[in-house]
């Protein structure tokens, strides 16, 4: 199963200047390096917020989670964040398992889009 990667600058006003990355298929040991390659130029821009839309993602392994963790780390260093939305139950379970490991602070904030957007909106207003 291949991985399709669509990187879009969001036109939705509520999402401000966040970049959305839509993933469809399988994020695994064979496809994770390609996602990493395509994310690198995005992370080189001043973007602070990435939204990973996982509606079409059918499979993920630790190789994929590492790419997410590295992206999140880069964004966090510039006070941004990565959000993960529309996860299928099986994908969400994989996130939950890793999140529950002792000492792993990485995916604490992966959840609710509403919460994420509210925080973004508050930050946007505060900064205006």
């Amino acid at each position: 199963m291949p991985l399709d990667i669509q990187i879009k600058k969001s036109l939705d006003a509520a999402r401000f200047d966040a970049v959305t990355v839509e993933l469809t298929g399988s994020l695994d040991t064979a496809t994770a390096p390609e996602l990493e390659r395509q994310l690198a130029p995005v992370l080189d821009t001043p973007v602070t917020d990435l939204i990973f839309d996982l509606a079409g993602l059918e499979f993920i392994s630790s190789a994929g989670l590492r790419v997410f963790a590295n992206a999140r780390k880069t964004l966090k260093a510039r006070s941004g964040q990565a959000a993960f939305v529309n996860m299928r139950p099986q994908i969400q379970e994989v996130f939950e398992i890793i999140k529950s490991l002792p000492g792993v602070g990485i995916f604490k904030s992966f959840a609710e889009m509403d919460e994420y957007l509210a925080a973004r909106q508050a930050r946007h207003k505060g900064g205006a």
Binding site: D28, S61, S62, L65, R66, N70, G103, I106
Partner: protein
């Protein structure tokens, strides 16, 4: 039983996972169990490619899978240096500082989705045996 000999590259690991999915569907394994089996095979196969075979594409490893009356058994064999991923995992997790992704995530996922994970060194080979028991077993 299905047996495959594979080159030590990530694409071959995923080829093997595709074969497992097809085998599982043929043998009436439900999607949830098959997801866990696929993930466990991917993690263990990737581990062999990166560690046991050191990223050397000419190295080979072997995988077999079999549905028994009440379980699916996956066996992975490689001729790399002796390496027991089941004992390495705890150490790597201990090193985690909360931000750096530790290498132990993979084996942790394998343990979660499988009912048994056995490692043995047999005749110069690493042998990893994964067992997933099926809940509504039919013969």
């Amino acid at each position: 039983m299905k047996s495959l000999e594979l080159q030590a590259i990530p694409e071959e690991v995923m080829h093997c996972v595709d074969q497992l999915r097809a085998y599982g569907r043929e043998h009436g394994i439900d999607d949830k169990a098959l997801f866990g089996l696929s993930l466990a095979l991917e993690e263990c196969g990737a581990n062999i490619v990166h560690h046991a075979c050191g990223g050397q594409a000419h190295e080979k490893f072997r995988v077999s899978f079999q549905r028994t009356a009440d379980a699916v058994v996956i066996e992975l064999r490689d001729r790399g240096p002796a390496f027991d991923p089941t004992s390495a995992a705890a150490r790597e997790l201990d090193d985690a500082d909360g931000e750096r992704p530790p290498g132990g995530w993979g084996i942790h996922l394998v343990r979660h989705y499988m009912d048994e994970v056995h490692y043995a060194r047999e005749g110069g080979e690493n042998v990893l045996r994964l067992v997933k028991r099926l809940q509504s077993a039919t013969t």
